[in-house]
Symmetry: D2
Subunit: 341 residues, 4 copies
Amino acid sequence: MTTPDRIRIAVIGAGRIGKLHAEHLAARIPGVQLAAIADINLAAAQETAARFNAPVAAVDYRQLLDDQTIHAVVIGSPTDTHAEIAQQAAAAGKHVFCEKPIDFDLKRIDQTLAALERAGVKFQVGFNRRFDPNFRKVREMVAAGKIGAPHLLRITSRDPAPPPLEYVKVSGGIFLDMTIHDFDMARYLMGSEVTEIYAAGAVLVDPAIGGVGDLDTAVITLRFANGAIGAIDNSRRAVYGYDQRVEVFGSAGMVTVSNNTSDTHVYSNAAGIHSALPLYFFLERYTESYIAELRAFVECLRDDTPPPVTGMDGRLPVVMGLAAQKSYRENRPVRLDEIEA
Amino acid sequence: MTTPDRIRIAVIGAGRIGKLHAEHLAARIPGVQLAAIADINLAAAQETAARFNAPVAAVDYRQLLDDQTIHAVVIGSPTDTHAEIAQQAAAAGKHVFCEKPIDFDLKRIDQTLAALERAGVKFQVGFNRRFDPNFRKVREMVAAGKIGAPHLLRITSRDPAPPPLEYVKVSGGIFLDMTIHDFDMARYLMGSEVTEIYAAGAVLVDPAIGGVGDLDTAVITLRFANGAIGAIDNSRRAVYGYDQRVEVFGSAGMVTVSNNTSDTHVYSNAAGIHSALPLYFFLERYTESYIAELRAFVECLRDDTPPPVTGMDGRLPVVMGLAAQKSYRENRPVRLDEIEA
Amino acid sequence: MTTPDRIRIAVIGAGRIGKLHAEHLAARIPGVQLAAIADINLAAAQETAARFNAPVAAVDYRQLLDDQTIHAVVIGSPTDTHAEIAQQAAAAGKHVFCEKPIDFDLKRIDQTLAALERAGVKFQVGFNRRFDPNFRKVREMVAAGKIGAPHLLRITSRDPAPPPLEYVKVSGGIFLDMTIHDFDMARYLMGSEVTEIYAAGAVLVDPAIGGVGDLDTAVITLRFANGAIGAIDNSRRAVYGYDQRVEVFGSAGMVTVSNNTSDTHVYSNAAGIHSALPLYFFLERYTESYIAELRAFVECLRDDTPPPVTGMDGRLPVVMGLAAQKSYRENRPVRLDEIEA
Amino acid sequence: MTTPDRIRIAVIGAGRIGKLHAEHLAARIPGVQLAAIADINLAAAQETAARFNAPVAAVDYRQLLDDQTIHAVVIGSPTDTHAEIAQQAAAAGKHVFCEKPIDFDLKRIDQTLAALERAGVKFQVGFNRRFDPNFRKVREMVAAGKIGAPHLLRITSRDPAPPPLEYVKVSGGIFLDMTIHDFDMARYLMGSEVTEIYAAGAVLVDPAIGGVGDLDTAVITLRFANGAIGAIDNSRRAVYGYDQRVEVFGSAGMVTVSNNTSDTHVYSNAAGIHSALPLYFFLERYTESYIAELRAFVECLRDDTPPPVTGMDGRLPVVMGLAAQKSYRENRPVRLDEIEA
């Protein structure tokens, strides 16, 4: 399939993330036409299609896969459908942009990656934070040697509020749902693979989260192949908003990024000096990175270059999440090769 | 003319600012269709029209005024054409969004405002900074009484580099070209009119600017009707980039905003702690405020409400600029009513 | 008089500033012995002497001037006594450290400086802010050419609360009592003399201040011999505490200093991000600079070097204060040579 | 022994920390007389005594213990002498201020604490950071419930440069020499005991440190009795200077403190925005906290109140250091009761 002037892309899933991608494809990504929306809830598909001028709304995504004018799909459906849809899209010759995680099961991930590779289609995983200007700057400085050899990594990643309990139950747990972004960030920033993980966790935010077998607070220690050590801390509820900071420390210096705010105001009164809270949550905080990741996907389709976030980049954070789960359950450091074994 | 589903807007002027507005109308302003581009340089009009999918490109803006399907025009042509185009647009029943300044001549401004009022069309002046989240926050806090009664205003407004000398010659001078934004900001933030101005100026950046009769450095003192005092400082060249800060101090507190940067990185090495420069210039710094001002214009067309930046808001900063010029020439404070007399 | 191992210094005036100097001489200045305290209120002199282990307390400072074992005096008595005491101290061969201002009257200042010079004693004026690490750093960077040629100076100087009305009446007015420090700072930071001043003032904090003929809010424009322009803003009441910031902007960059705080804490809760107020007032803010100025005085006695703040440094800010008063009264810029004439 | 007007205190050890305490006792601590200095290097004792006007210099500290006019001793000698000197001082009825750690051996610590208790003398351990205004503010806010229930603690503690290798050999290792301060800080800030520790360590700064069996880089996970989790990161070399930051995060907010700097200057040039490095090392950074801890010690002698840092406060960080050592060696989390067993 040769690449046309306007690449036609369909979105599968008309939930929050699907709508977001649809909006961006409709207005913010040059050289693209939003071709169709599919959702098992047809009304949702239709509403999203109408809102963003997509000509087609379908209840069954396979209808879109059969459409020869569609070049690529963005998979934004529930996680347990990612692998199957990706494999069918590959079989239909569609390029695939897939939300994280690919799956919770390494075997299904491997089957999916194999299918995608056999089909020769492009595959990009939605680790959008890599496209955030703050984290990108940190990566660039680390890669440019500005901090020398990396010694320590610190990631603070805290949500403003826990997801609904119904979601927590099927989320795969905090390590595979929330920390997975930080695991990706750790690999991305350090340019080195993690070899061992120790996870300390707790239920401090809401006992109901513990009631369904999950955690809401965690500190995770990472050992990297390059000898460096990392620490991630997570909470499901920071009352002051979405807290997303990283720090890389090395032999020649340190680079740190802090939170984005809605404005730079500083208010001084008799009680103190006050400034704006962090942007509330991922939709506000990472808007531009969601756009940038899709732009990068479209560019690699157009230029026939490798996607910037590969299938392996999608797979390894799942391995890390499984290692963190095992570490927490057994209260001991777990090597990643234990998970692969 | 009833307002349709999609308001059709033409852009007059395909220079830097015209292209910017065209791009935003094409992609970032809901409920709008970019209907046409006019420029005396037809090639420029055509190129801009093609790039942003405008169906019509014209060399003569009057062709667009004759088009009954066009509801409004955005005037982004050179300043000396604003008044005439605005008057003709009014006569043709078009709503008008006009870049600042309306004109350098108060009489022509008054004729233009009268023509717009007679025609009953909406008129908004492009003081985009009012739509910047930082300055808007300051205004909101002042208006909400958070700082009590305003006592002092400080505006720092410095460009990263002077404009080309050819532009300086026709710019109207620093007070009408550059400080005019700060004059608008002063009125906007304080919610009180300026009654007297003292301008101290100098040529320190480039003697060539002095050679064509202009200044490149200034400190301007403002007296407000509410008793408060303000100070603006300007420079045509801040080597560290576009410097746009304001501070309002009052009986109950102070609010300050600082510059926006491309990212929040902080880099620590043996030489010091280093962070990102301000966004380079107005196109980078005020992107969102350019979009927001057009959204507000479109909303007031759709909802038949008054534009948020009126003709009088366009006129008064010109009075202030003329007062500053007179103050500088005569080295004495000048009351605004001296200019009106 | 040869300089002994321990320089014996007497303090004249046991009010707030006299006590401060006595405390520092007693404990924080190496190589010094606090020899005596004088105050027209003998009890105050005795209490201060007892507290800081000074062997002598006197009601009449002339008793101390007669004491051949005393090498130097620190004058911390009311302003209207500075000139006479300094002249008598000079006649007695004592080195003199004198609080600012020397006097409000230029003729008396000139007589005093002449008397000090004739006597061949050292004379240092208490412009302590020059010894503050923040302002010193700015001066060093400007002097080292880090900002290139200076173009703009901004000084924000606001007190946390007005002085008692009884003090306001005899203070010499805001320009000679409060702004005088900023006038000194302007000369110090820029390394260039001020040639013209325009002062805009208002009574916004407390009408009672206006009732005794003074102002409480001001913006002062300075023209420097090197072509640069400066702006000082003053308020007698910043509800958030003592606000002491300066900024020097030049052809190659800018250097800014902000307020000192009691600690670096940042508190984030659902309402915002909050941090510590500035240190409350000059005693808290400038403790170290008061110590440093006395250390410098003692060093120049010991090493027989010129004092770092000269008689002329004490005189010129008074000229500037008088020019600001005249400018405010006549609402026009006033050249400093008008005051000297 | 009744408490006299001036408490006479002797300093044992005339090395870096001994000299520091001697200087403070001589000049910065009210109500105290520096009575004597002892050091096995008599010349060092004599020099320090002369410099700070101590009337006695001794080669044998037992001479000071025999002096009935001395009320208390400050032990600043090498760590392996602390326990014995403290026990002898107790036997001699002297109050004791002892540098950290008391010892590396829990049994010797317990004997020492028992001896001190039997003697009925006051005993304070030199965890000076508790007296730093930043950390104190954090503790106060946590204790006041400002952050709600504590969930997460983060401590960054990095030295500007490793100590000499000769010192590293006898230092007890990074956990007992450097992290011990952070262990104390963890207990102090959280107001809860640590129950389990997992230490990941590495040699990344200097292989010679590994050559003598020590580490130079570490990330330590702490489990607290209250359910919270903490992470400490250490490095022996931060090229940008002494990095001392803490953060406590809880159900209602977060409080963070950052580094102190020599001044607040911000320098903007074409290359970026630059500010001052952290104060270089502990002598610069913690000057005021060294003074404050001795003031507190003197106050508890005078007022007969319990010292603010107790023997148990000195003992528990050693237990934590031993647990960290064991955890690192066995690469598993270690409960503190394993060390006590």
